[in-house]
Symmetry: D2
Subunit: 169 residues, 4 copies
């Protein structure tokens, strides 16, 4: 059964994240996973470029209505017109999510994934604090290879477990 791994990340990331995102995409594709993302530039483009370089399939869920706004490395480019509503669509489409870097859109995807039971792996991203201390809400990878391995493992476990999904609906 094909695994779908979502990658959340900013359109204008710190430069150091671009190479990591490309490496992440390549590793996910080498493992046979479909890579789902927001379809834009920055982290999204880099992860798609990496995935395509390994012959992988990439899906972009664009916020707007114009397919041409997708990056050049999308196998399938879907203009959703949902604005930031596509963030939840990304979470629902993913068996596991890797969050890369520190945008607020990425934070929303982390939160929606945690809320709906989708496994999250962090890579140079937000950490959460409540009251006086940190909350250990999701595992953090130290490099893109580890992030890919952790996300694939989480996606596999979840996919096999015929997961209950709780979307509050």
């Amino acid at each position: 059964m094909t695994l779908y791994v979502g990658v959340a990340g900013a359109s204008r990331p710190e430069p150091a994240l671009v190479g990591q995102a490309e490496r992440l995409g390549r590793r996910l594709a080498e493992a046979g996973a479909v890579v789902v993302c927001g379809g834009g530039p920055g982290v999204m483009e880099a992860v798609c470029r990496g995935a395509r370089s390994a012959g992988g399939t990439t899906v972009g869920l664009l916020p707007g209505l114009d397919r041409a706004e997708g990056n050049p490395y999308l196998t399938v480019s879907l203009p959703t017109g949902l604005g930031q509503g596509r963030n939840l669509l990304l979470v629902r489409s993913s068996d596991a999510l890797v969050a890369v870097g520190g945008g607020f859109g990425t934070l929303s995807e982390i939160a929606l994934a945690l809320r709906t039971g989708t496994p999250v792996v962090g890579l140079a991203t937000w950490s959460l604090h409540l009251g006086t201390g940190p909350v250990d809400a999701f595992p953090v990878a130290t490099d893109p290879d580890a992030a890919a391995d952790m996300a694939l493992e989480a996606a596999r476990s979840r996919s096999e477990a015929a997961p209950e999904r709780n979307d509050g609906a």
Copy 2:
């Protein structure tokens, strides 16, 4: 530039439509179009089976949260959790839409496409009347080959025209 053609149709169609939908999918894929649909059984499954038999790419926008509910002929299967809200997503993802048969979901997709400026081609589907007479809102094909040709032509024209899209937003 890759064209995306949406196909709307019921999960429990009249049996005669199944063969036509399969033929439609094959023709769209032979022309290099990506086929987008609701990802379910019936017309949706038939059109995907046809497209895959010609080596095409198929995308299913599932109403629920479980990827396993997609039909077996999907290249990319996306659980949206939007219920009938995925109908608008199908329209937004399509450069042109073929409406097959007479379900109410299909009627909603025709209406949303007409409202938002996405070309529609009918195949054994609804016709619309207002006041005392029929309204000629979209062209109707007499067989799946003609439907494919008409939809591809409409998608091509629209794609080249850098279309204005009006989604009321």
Copy 3:
């Protein structure tokens, strides 16, 4: 228990429909129903003006992101940013729907209501044909008073029946 009646109708209707929509709004409010609509001008504004003139509550589900685009007769004005996606939100928010006039947005709301089991009443709106003949998909009122009565009765029956809703999800 408060009933919610949705009213679908165009922003630029035939002039004759404006008076009918205002009358419809007044009758719904006199019966204690909350009126839900798309919040815009035309039929939507008229139905709200009528409802407010009888002391009623009106809710506008705007397609865009700017609350100021709502008409002046809204008790509650909600910018959804969903574009035509707010049409499904209108259907889901309504215990019954009155469709006024002949826009494609209105047609989409009729179709989504029929698909999801929300009772529809027509007033000078679309009729549907399939194959060689008309399909009697929903009752049609001859004037706004009858439309209000029919919608209220349908909303009441449905509300009491603790209805199963089927949204395909």
Copy 4:
């Protein structure tokens, strides 16, 4: 011009937050603001109870399809069927947002508000860290009265400024 203040908070909060949420709702209603929330129990119910006790108007954007799941203190109860997609709807409907307590749904609303330019005020909620240190992304109130004042001021400034909204679409 009427201000709309959204309140995000968990359905099963720490008990100490319930009284604070009720106080917050009362203060917002006394200032004439419409209170928008997810319509459920816990923080959402408490804030509505407070607002209604001061004669205010409350709007609940329910995740499911059943209006009866709304709390008893809603002026307007809207079943959206969007699941956690209603979180974005709450943000879009609000001129400013108060985030109460530590749920992941609340975190998603904070993130979506920050991403789309809606002012956020925190009350006993998440703080965000990136890399080695905290990020001061939104102001934090020490009690519900201050939270109400800060949110009303932010909503007023924004409403008067005819704000640009950026939803990434």
